[in-house]
């Protein structure tokens, strides 16, 4: 969890119930290479984080523990230890790790709870991360540094804010749980009260659904007067609507932003099928950096994934659009450098940030990017643009 204070202060202009923002995206499980869809989500969040913190206290919630406490992650680890016991993953490539992940799914369903439990226990007790996932996260961080993305703490494992039992007790006390554990059955979130389906949180085998670790971190924070922004894949919408309702039931103010994936050749498929080959973020950055410098790559990818493709876009990856975005990025950076001494820009830009913040409780990256980088406008003030779009990695 990273906190930052707004350098500009909040100016006392916030006519909202909330004071500050907590960005709470779904945590990517350290089992696969970052794809273009991941890059879109991470850049979207990065622009939102950097822009919103200009005008309000902004936190960015990312606890790797939450992803490590899921069946998806520990099933991958169990597979690796079964098929390649004692292997040294420290030098593995993204491709090798990604292919192992695809193979781990080829065998079908989830392993039995007894197989997963020792891993979950170890994550819980020691904050342990399998070496293969540690290697993957290192590779992710390298790519994100290159892209100038603020690291929300991808390698900074910490205990969750409360135990699973606390989450279930709190939900139960609010009457939000249908709890049949005493009959040896599952425990469910009472989704029907919100028009959602009943959602299993604890299986008959005691296995906890991925929503429980998320709630372990978010539920204890919910009393703060901040806006919680849940960011997720559209495939998880039903679960995230339930999550939103739960946090609201505990007094939270919540916005929910699904971010559409970037289809490749018209197809959106889960990483487990391996369709990413050749289109990972690593592949893309190598291809881009053969033609452009690092600042242009950073801004160009942001223009493409944040402004050309809107948040909910379902347009397939288009190399031509990316090429044009990179070209536009290069022009903007050149023009911005040329007017580095102008003084009237910053006030106008800060004004824009405030207006966007007040209208939605956070600065919307699409609206900001299309406004700031609009052809008809003067180029953005270089300091601000650099801080938000092609700046340093912090």
């Amino acid at each position: 969890m990273m906190e930052s204070r707004s350098p500009g202060g909040n100016g006392g202009m916030i006519a909202l119930r909330t004071a500050g923002v907590l960005l709470a995206p779904v945590t990517i499980t350290p089992t696969k290479p970052l794809t273009l869809s991941h890059a879109k989500g991470l850049l979207w969040l990065d622009v939102m984080y950097r822009a919103t913190r200009e005008v309000a206290p902004t936190g960015y919630e990312w606890n790797p523990r939450v992803a490590n406490l899921t069946a998806q992650t520990v099933a991958f680890w169990a597979y690796l230890d079964r098929t390649a016991p004692g292997a040294d993953w420290s030098g593995a490539t993204e491709r090798e790790l990604g292919e192992a992940y695809v193979r781990s799914h080829a065998g079908g369903g989830r392993p039995a709870a007894e197989t997963l439990r020792p891993y979950l226990d170890r994550v819980e007790a020691e904050g342990w991360t399998h070496p293969a996932s540690r290697r993957l996260i290192d590779l992710w961080l390298e790519q994100l540094r290159l892209l100038g993305v603020h690291d929300p703490g991808m390698a900074a494992d910490r205990g969750t804010r409360c135990a699973a039992e606390d989450v279930l007790d709190r939900l139960g006390a609010r009457g939000l749980l249908v709890d049949h554990r005493r009959y040896g059955g599952p425990a469910y979130l009472d989704g029907p009260r919100w028009g959602q389906p009943l959602r299993q949180l604890v299986g008959e085998d005691g296995h906890l659904n991925y929503l429980v670790p998320i709630l372990r971190d978010l539920l204890p924070r919910v009393g703060r007067p901040e806006l919680t922004v849940l960011v997720h894949d559209p495939e998880l919408t039903q679960d995230y609507v339930s999550l939103e309702r739960v946090l609201e039931a505990f007094g939270g103010t919540v916005r929910r932003l699904p971010i559409g994936r970037v289809p490749i050749g018209g197809v959106v498929r889960s990483s487990r099928y391996g369709d990413w080959a050749g289109t990972t973020l690593g592949d893309l950055s190598r291809a881009c950096l053969r033609h452009v410098d690092v600042p242009t790559y950073r801004l160009g990818l942001r223009i493409y994934l944040v402004a050309v493709l809107n948040r909910g876009s379902v347009r397939s990856f288009d190399p031509e659009l990316l090429r044009r975005s990179l070209k536009r990025a290069r022009r903007l950076i050149e023009r911005s450098a040329a007017r580095a001494s102008t003084t009237d820009g910053p006030a106008a830009a800060e004004d824009l940030l405030r207006r966007l913040y007040q209208s939605q409780g956070y600065v919307d990256p699409y609206r900001l990017t299309t406004s700031l980088l609009n052809h008809s406008r003067p180029v953005p003030p270089p300091d601000l643009a650099r801080r938000i779009y092609w700046g340093q990695g912090s």
Binding site: G175, V178, H180, R182, Y183, G184, G185, P186, Y188, D190, G191, P192, R193, Q196, P197, L198, Q200, E204
Partner: protein, 236 residues
């Protein structure tokens, strides 16, 4: 006589008496649906009785001929009250019944999950008395004795067995408002003795007992007596 043979004969007699010899459960036979948030045996049994009395006249006979087919869902009745019309809800709102043959059960299957409770439950309990609802108190009814087997019986199985035996007894007029139900939960139960000592005698409509005999999942091919309801009536 081999106890399994006796159980088999009783089961066949019961089947014949419900269906009149024609095939009973058809694909379109009505099913009721029960939404379960929490279970208390006394509350559940009382609710089962109240629900069976509340079944609309037009559905009573089709449901009886379908052996009171019922689906049990996990869910919170209070969260569904605005969308479905429950026929009966327990006072603690922990269990709700949807009428047999209604359309609501199909829509529930999309938002709810089938009840799952594999653990032995409720196990052996203290004996308790339960008034059969709807009595005026002026005409003393009979005392019915309900014995339920619990050894190795899971919560999910208990719901099914107890629900069948009471619903069927109400629909065929064996239990009446004002009767009192004397309930025992025991590890195992025996067949009630019949007057002439002939255990293979089939039950008669309006007769004095209602049994729940079903396959024992722990002993392949064997039948087991899960619930037995008997009643003594004063001179009427």
């Amino acid at each position: 006589m081999d106890p399994q043979e006796v159980l088999r004969a009783r089961l066949i007699a019961q089947y014949t008496s419900v269906t009149g010899g024609t095939p009973g459960v058809l694909p379109k036979s009505p099913a009721a649906a029960v939404v379960v948030r929490d279970l208390d045996p006394a509350v559940f049994l009382a609710g089962t009785l109240a629900n069976a009395f509340a079944v609309p006249a037009v559905t009573r006979e089709p449901w009886r001929r379908a052996f009171t087919r019922t689906l049990f869902f996990a869910g919170n009745p209070a969260s569904l009250a605005s969308r479905v019309d429950f026929l009966h809800v327990t006072p603690d709102a922990a269990v709700g019944w949807l009428p047999p043959g209604g359309a609501a059960a199909a829509s529930l299957s999309r938002s709810l999950r089938m009840f799952r409770g594999p653990r032995e439950w409720p196990g052996v309990r203290d004996r308790f008395l339960l008034p059969v609802p709807g009595g005026s108190g002026r005409h003393p009814g009979g005392t019915a004795r309900l014995r339920v087997a619990t050894a190795g019986v899971s919560a999910a199985e208990y719901l099914i067995h107890a629900h069948h035996v009471l619903s069927e007894a109400v629909l065929r007029g064996m239990l009446r408002p004002g009767d009192v139900l004397d309930v025992s939960h025991l590890p195992d139960i025996d067949l009630p003795a019949t007057e002439d000592g002939d255990a293979s005698d089939g039950e008669k409509p309006g007769g004095e007992e209602q049994l729940r005999i079903a396959q024992d999942p722990h002993r392949e091919g064997d039948l087991r007596l899960y619930a037995a309801l008997t009643i003594e009536r004063g001179s009427e």
